[in-house]
Symmetry: C2
Subunit: 221 residues, 2 copies
DNA sequence: TTGTAAAGTTAAGCATACTTAAACTTGAAT
DNA sequence: ATTCAAGTTTAAGTATGCTTAACTTTACAA
């Protein structure tokens, strides 16, 4: 029942609480949502009163169980739409994020479950992200590290990528980097912390910022 | 670019200008949109200033060419979604209207054209309504009359139904009334203007209000 | 032709979701 | 302990999309 703005706020709290701590600052939310600090503080009051978030002034924001349930439902819709658009319409993995971003707010439970069943109740979306299940549980991902944390000389498989930037996803597509692509780490440049890898017999480099958004697992020979 | 409220307003103007005149009263719009008269007058000013409608105080509302183009684009999205949900997810013809009602406002041209192509650029939706094409043209329907205007004793094929009421669509499904169902007109009751028909060897009656929403064409032997 | 009921509009008010600008906390360096 | 800059919140204002209540216009019946 929350509005689109509120759903996006809840989603942002969820995603920013994943990596870091158990709470987010309002300014981090403002950056993520592209609104002013003032607006995020304001919004926090409303969502707190409605029981979606825990908010202590000057201390940041975190989700209540109710808020987390809501976030997971939205993420479920987002990821199922992504997979569905790829499977049924053959969109590219770089095209589906922005469409899902809109559709996720206008999809009934009924339709979502139809799509889920059509897809055979999948566990992962086209970018390797786990799809929250009908019962709210989130499938486990196999152990992964970000590209930045890899070891020079070793080989890995690409297991997950962050799809928020269409630009970056287009680049991945262009160089043939896909889920389960095999890569070999050639070097780390001290100069800018970029990573040099070998992929399909070609050499590429990724900036630190991009490297943080590629997740890999070690290839066991 | 109009908001969801504005899109729905434009759609309502379009649909209410179809049957009757070339213009609608604000109160007719209020009834259709389930908002107050005051709100429709207010909205009219805004949409008029933005060039979507022609609005003269106390004289009703009509679409400008720009408004009509917008209306047709929304209807295209609605009807393509309906067909797509039926074809790809096997939803029933009674289930797709309310889903499309939401999705139509959150769908890019890009995605819509993908869906259009996937479906083979169809000309009619699951309820017999013509689907506006990519170029804005609307396919011609073959000559149809509403059930009310039929002749006792003659046989007809069901060619189009109004799908706005889920309740009514559920009833059609229950009695096995589909597109291209063959029906025979048994009688008109003077008492309440209802129509008695024969369908699949069963006899049914439809109120005047429902009869107005079933469109048929004469069966040529 | 005029009075009046119905139809339609304006005015004022509310909630949401923002903005900018001013005021306030916090905490870390002095 | 004090200061002050960064971070955060409050206050005031805006646009949208509605509401209710009061007012205006229209049309048509007498």
């Amino acid at each position: 029942m929350p509005s689109i703005s509120k759903e996006n706020y809840i989603k942002a709290v969820y995603s920013l609480c994943q990596n870091d701590a158990h709470s987010v600052s309002t300014s981090a939310l403002a950056t993520k949502l592209n609104i002013t600090n003032a607006a995020t503080s304001d919004m926090a009051k409303g969502l707190s009163k409605q029981g979606f978030i825990k908010y202590e002034k000057y201390k940041g924001v975190s989700l209540t169980p109710k808020g987390e349930k809501t976030a997971i439902e939205i993420i479920r819709k987002h990821r199922l739409w992504e997979l569905f658009l790829m499977k049924s319409l053959e969109l590219g993995w770089e095209e589906v994020h922005s469409e899902a971003e809109h559709l996720e707010h206008q999809t009934t439970e009924f339709l979502m479950n139809k799509i889920d069943d059509f897809l055979g109740n999948p566990k992962f979306d086209p970018h390797g992200e786990p799809i929250p299940q009908k019962d709210g549980t989130i499938p486990n991902m196999e152990a992964q590290i970000s590209l930045n944390k890899s070891q020079v000389g070793k080989e890995y498989l690409v297991k997950r990528v962050n799809d928020e930037s269409k630009e970056v996803m287009d680049y991945f597509t262009e160089i043939g980097l896909n889920l389960n692509s095999k890569i070999k780490i050639k070097n780390f440049l001290k100069y800018d912390n970029s990573t040099i890898i070998e992929l399909n017999d070609n050499v590429h480099s990724f900036s630190e910022k991009i490297g943080k958004r590629i997740f890999i697992s070690q290839l066991n020979e």
